[in-house]
């Protein structure tokens, strides 16, 4: 946690930036504050449609850890799917279980393929907590959402679901239905070769080819 003045100054510098170089420097300084109060401004920066800048803001959000997740969840931008994709990536990398509902909903229904892609990534990485029954039911929910996502119209979302299914299935029981979804992605039903390659790699690593 930084002093109020350092934080306020960093936020003011972001607002005052006139060039992309200034904005990058100011955002880097804001990230260095490592302060939960920087989240709204980092989420604003993430929506500027500048990948290099968004990458810096993303690393700042992720570094703040699980405590940042509720604020990010509250502030997902319904109007800007580019920004939403970055925010969902942050949630995916923070991997706190509180994001599960949002990630399931995003994978199933978000209009932005990059949002669905990031949500699928998140569902493979969440740290599940609770007693064994709770963990199992959360895992089932992730598996179900990812299996469903294997039918997405965008190849990159199907790819992301395959990668996450591999990750989830490598810990815990190898669910027959999820394995079946991966097998289907290696077959001729899947018209995109890189998805077939990824699904085959997953099955190979799971010894389930």
């Amino acid at each position: 946690m930084t002093s109020d003045s350092a934080l306020n100054q960093a936020i003011a510098s972001v607002d005052a930036a006139r060039t992309s170089t200034e904005l990058m420097q100011a955002t880097t300084a804001l990230v260095r504050c490592n302060d939960l109060r920087s989240i709204p401004k980092l989420l604003e920066v993430i929506g500027f449609n500048n990948p290099a800048l968004a990458g810096v803001a993303l690393s700042g959000l992720v570094a703040l850890g699980p405590e940042a997740a509720p604020q990010i969840l509250d502030r997902l931008d319904p109007q800007n799917y580019g920004a939403r994709a970055w925010a969902v990536r942050a949630l995916a990398e923070i991997a706190d279980g509180c994001a599960m509902d949002t990630l399931v909903e995003a994978l199933g229904n978000d209009i932005g393929p990059s949002v669905r892609r990031a949500a699928a990534k998140g569902l493979g990485h969440l740290k599940l907590t609770g007693d064994p029954d709770e963990i199992n039911s959360q895992r089932q929910r992730c598996l179900q959402a990812l299996s469903h996502g294997c039918q997405d119209g965008e190849w990159v979302v199907r790819y992301s679901c395959c990668a996450s299914l591999e990750r989830l299935l490598s810990e815990g029981d190898a669910e027959r239905q999820a394995i079946q979804c991966l097998r289907e992605r290696t077959s001729a039903t899947e018209r995109v070769k890189v998805v077939r390659l990824r699904a085959a790699l997953a099955l190979q690593r799971l010894n389930a080819g």
Binding site: R117, A120, K121, W155, V156, Y159, K193, L197, L201
Partner: protein, 274 residues
């Protein structure tokens, strides 16, 4: 590679969800040009294999070709969508119409026909494309880019093709230079033609950086794996480029990699970008 307009559903035509019979009906009718336009796009997007699809699409091109010098705008727009749709279909039976469009006086029609001919692998078009590229009025950037990309995709590495391409290898227009290097790499796999890509990827223009990245993906140039992964571009474009490296890797020999090793490296890089 320039970003193509009309590449997704939201831009290509509004309307309620339709099914294949409805798309065929809309393409066949003559009352509503917008319906025909949408139907042509739909059939391509859905990879329609219905036996009536290709004959109806061919008929639309024949209308254009028989319209002579001044086709109606509706007819021209429909033909452009038909040519784009054929990229997604097995349109070998439409070879005659596609090759005729390649010589059409409208440069936009020529451009789309060039892409379609390349995707269908019509090597008959190579000589015509080379002669068009050698013509003096080579000033339509998008057309030139499409023609150069087609030469790379068609896989004819004869001296005439290489000579034509080399003339564009130091073109001042960045995207045309990138397309040329892409085609030369596809045809020769000579790393010499890859040397300029790292500096092209540092272009100050986002549009150029995206185009260059997609060119590297179209080649499947494995030595570019790290350049692609680390370039300051949104992950969606990097993933499209890396897909090319996974699906048709080139340039493995200098890296001493076999295809399986290359695949694993590319998939690992893609996993990091999801």
């Amino acid at each position: 590679m320039a970003m193509q307009p009309g590449a997704d559903a939201t831009q290509s035509g509004a309307g309620d969800p339709i099914d294949e019979p409805e798309a065929l009906r809309r393409l066949e009718q003559r009352d509503d040009p917008a319906d025909r336009y949408y139907a042509a796009w739909w059939l391509g997007h859905e990879r329609s294999q219905h036996p009536r699809t290709l004959p109806l699409l061919r008929a639309a091109l024949q209308e254009l070709l028989s319209a002579g010098g001044q086709p109606e705008e509706d007819c021209r727009a429909l033909s452009l969508n038909v040519l784009r749709a054929m990229v997604h279909l097995d349109a070998g039976a439409a070879k005659e119409e596609i090759l005729s469009c390649l010589a059409h006086h409208d440069s936009h029609i020529r451009e789309e026909a060039t892409r379609t001919a390349a995707s269908e692998g019509f090597r008959e078009s190579v000589a015509l494309i080379c002669s068009q590229l050698s013509a003096d009025d080579a000033s339509d950037d998008r057309l030139i880019e499409a023609q150069i990309e087609a030469l790379g995709d068609l896989g004819d590495a004869g001296a005439a093709v290489i000579d034509t391409l080399v003339r564009f290898s130091d073109d001042p227009r960045t995207l045309i230079r990138s397309a040329t290097l892409r085609a030369l790499l596809q045809l020769t796999e000579d790393p010499h033609w890859a040397r300029e890509f790292p500096s092209l990827l540092q272009s100050s223009s986002t549009l150029v950086r995206r185009g260059v990245l997609l060119d590297l993906g179209a080649v499947g140039w494995m030595p570019a794996l790290d350049w692609i992964s680390q370039s300051p571009i949104e992950n969606s474009i990097k993933l499209i480029a890396l897909r090319g490296l996974a699906e048709h890797p080139r340039g493995l020999e200098p890296l001493s990699l076999n295809t399986e090793q290359a695949n694993q490296m590319v998939l690992a890089a893609m996993d990091q970008l999801l």
